[in-house]
């Protein structure tokens, strides 16, 4: 599996897009994470307007075998949660880097240790 070069990554297996002109970036989980979880059956995403803090939990993804916390890769305000994923959580498995994105966040602060695609690929193995 390949991790898109234009994204940045966390060790919690989330990805973060480049910010748009309003300072908003899109967040999702990686294909590696989606494969590890198995079929996602329920996504609890942060609500629009909520403040999330880098490294802290902001939701959960439930699969057949387990539940996993969702960590915020950056600090900021949630401007949109992906209603398509709430309605059909299997999007996280079928298109983790595209239609299976989780939420959009207007970044106010970001940690210095976000990984490049190559660094993440080496980390995830």
């Amino acid at each position: 599996m390949s991790n898109p070069q234009q994204l940045r990554y966390t060790k919690e297996h989330e990805w973060l897009s480049a910010t748009d002109e309003n300072g908003v970036a899109t967040v999702g989980i990686t294909e590696f994470a989606a494969n590890s979880l198995g079929d996602v059956v329920f996504a609890q995403l942060p609500e629009t307007g909520a403040t999330v803090t880098a490294g802290e939990t902001c939701g959960e993804l439930e699969s057949t075998k387990s539940v996993s916390d969702l960590y915020a890769p950056v600090t900021g305000e949630v401007v949109e949660a992906n209603q398509d994923v709430v309605d059909d959580p299997s999007l996280v498995n079928s298109a983790p880097f595209e239609g299976g994105w989780l939420f959009k966040v207007k970044i106010t602060d970001e940690p210095a240790d976000l990984l490049t695609a190559d660094e993440y690929t080496a980390f995830a193995g």
């Binding site: 079929d39 329920f42 439930e62 057949t64 539940v67």
Partner: protein, 371 residues
């Protein structure tokens, strides 16, 4: 028990198929090959192929093999007809369940006991000890067999295309020796999915040939390889207990609602008889907790160990839970206080990480196939 995981005879094949593997009772087993939901649906609607070689086989032979099992287990195995199988249990002297088993009578003086992988050593040790006074030999056959299951409505047709054995004459819970795809096999009509299906006990050296033949024979019918993840959701929907979850040494068969497997009317004493008679009386007069089904009204999934509550008070505990592909909702099996165990009881919830999610009490099983 820090040994490296054991591998079945089909290990290389699983890896070639891209299986995600998991440690299960000391064995490296396929958890799933692709989507466990798709595998589950395949077994419910078409057919699935499972490697169950981790299961533990123990053979008893000799003129008193049946009597030895009558003493060692809670069932009446000496009365079992040759070629038939029985679901039964082995209990300790206090009536606690050591394991649930399937016993096949292969010949007048030969029985095969199939134990869960996690309990195989315990069962072997107990059978060896309990059979000591009988004219029978207990043999560890764990390495003598690979076990491949083909399960699902299309499984009879698939199996028929690779064997001349009389499958139409093979009833549920029966087994007969035969040849499948040129390989000698014990063909059993048993399973743990709630569907029609077969379990094939073969020599480990023949396992790959059999697996490949079944894969080819089932291709047109939509057979897919299936891992332990969907096996768990299939058995959960079918209301079948799993050792370590619904069944433990702290549970008697009566606690688990499976008192019917205990045969008090058989001849002679058996291990646990006195304790089980007391347990049967308790269960009849004042059951402490009952095993029930729970169906979610929401989408969060209950897991083993989660508390069942009514009005904030704990009234039970979830033993197994998962999203049900067939119902499209989370389901659980739970031990619940008798006062709240009737189907339709109002106000029952499961504490899912602090939130009391509403659940409906239902009778087990959640799913029953149409015959």
């Amino acid at each position: 028990m820090t040994n490296a995981p054991r591998h079945t005879a089909l290990d290389a094949l699983h890896r070639a198929l891209g299986a995600m593997m998991t440690d299960f009772a000391g064995w490296d087993m396929p958890l799933r090959y692709g989507s466990e939901r798709d595998e589950h649906v395949a077994v419910r609607t078409r057919a699935g192929l499972f490697d169950l070689s981790h299961m533990g086989e123990i053979t008893l032979t000799g003129p008193q093999a049946g009597q030895a099992l009558d003493y060692a287990l809670v069932g009446n195995l000496s009365a079992l007809a040759v070629g038939r199988a029985r679901y039964t249990m082995i209990c300790d002297a206090e009536g606690g369940i050591l394991d649930d088993l399937i016993v096949y009578r292969l010949a007048e003086q030969e029985y095969m006991v199939v134990a869960n992988a996690s309990n195989a050593q315990v069962v072997l040790d107990a059978l060896t000890e309990r059979a000591a006074g009988f004219e029978t030999a207990v043999r560890d056959d764990r390495d003598a067999y690979a076990l491949i299951a083909v399960q699902g409505p299309a499984s009879p047709g698939i199996l028929k295309s690779v064997t001349d054995a009389d499958l139409d004459g093979l009833k549920y819970y029966a087994g007969l020796p035969g040849t499948v795809a040129g390989v000698p096999a014990l063909i059993a009509r048993t399973g743990y999915t709630g569907e029609d299906g077969f379990e094939l006990f073969v020599a480990p050296g023949d396992a790959e040939k059999l697996w490949q033949a079944l894969t080819e024979a089932g291709a047109d019918a939509g057979l897919v390889p299936c891992g332990l993840s969907c096996r768990d959701t299939l058995r959960l929907e079918a209301g079948m207990p799993l050792y370590g979850h619904e069944l433990t040494t702290a549970t008697t068969p009566f606690d688990a609602g499976l008192g019917r497997v205990v045969k008090f009317d058989k001849e002679g004493d058996f291990v646990g008889r006195a304790a089980l008679e007391a347990a049967a009386e308790r269960a009849a007069s004042a059951p402490p907790r009952k095993l029930v089904g729970l169906v979610a009204q929401g989408r969060r999934v209950p897991r083993a160990g989660f508390a069942v509550t009514v009005g904030g008070e704990v009234v039970g505990e979830v033993t197994s839970g998962a999203p049900s592909p067939t119902l499209g909702k989370p389901i659980a099996i739970a031990y619940v206080d008798a006062a709240h165990a009737a189907p339709g009881t109002e106000g029952v919830a499961v504490d899912i990480r602090g939130a009391h999610e509403p659940y409906e009490v239902v009778a087990l099983p959640f799913y029953k196939r149409t015959r």
